[in-house]
């Protein structure tokens, strides 16, 4: 699977999106996060792993805890991908405008 797949897949779950919001706001240990959701520690741990695989968060040790931080750069990478779509669409609108302009020219010829 490619990185883009990992990014979108990671964001396609509301628990994971919520975790991203939390760790963008500030640091949280894995157990901090686990306490917030109605699921087991292991389940949250897996969600964090999915986010980590997509580079949306990083984990580093502090004592016996693992601290999770959000990586805004990854979010911006997704943003850029969407910009590409926007550009494609704008280009189409542009070409559509050209066709209309040509039609106008034809009328005045």
């Amino acid at each position: 699977m490619q990185r883009t797949d990992l990014l979108f897949h990671a964001l396609a779950d509301s628990t994971r999106r919520d975790i991203v919001r939390l760790v963008l706001r500030g640091e949280h240990s894995v157990s901090d996060l686990a306490r917030r959701y109605p699921m087991s520690f292991a389940a949250v741990q897996k969600h964090v792993a999915v986010l980590e695989r997509a580079d949306l968060v990083t984990k580093h040790q502090r004592g016996r805890e693992r601290i999770v931080r959000g990586r805004i750069d990854a979010v911006r990478d997704v943003d850029r991908l969407l910009d590409e779509f926007e550009a494609i669409w704008r280009d189409r609108m542009h070409r559509f405008g050209d066709v209309l302009a040509e039609a106008d020219q034809g009328e005045n010829r």
Copy 2:
């Protein structure tokens, strides 16, 4: 599953992202699309269905063909969600700046 999940999930596959690019650029029938990918018609049909469920494309009949169009609005909805993340992060940076400012004040007291 909520709409956001559907949106991100739909975009978490390179074939589907490619289809979105194509139909943002211009109309294509389902069989047009199917010819482009190394998989069965039914498989492409399913991919289109996933995109449709997420409102990233619409389908309408023309003769015996089903014409697929991209919906830029859905792309923009995703964009807005990412903006929320960006805002959260900026807010954190802002608050971090405040803490530094308070520390400075403390020094000069």
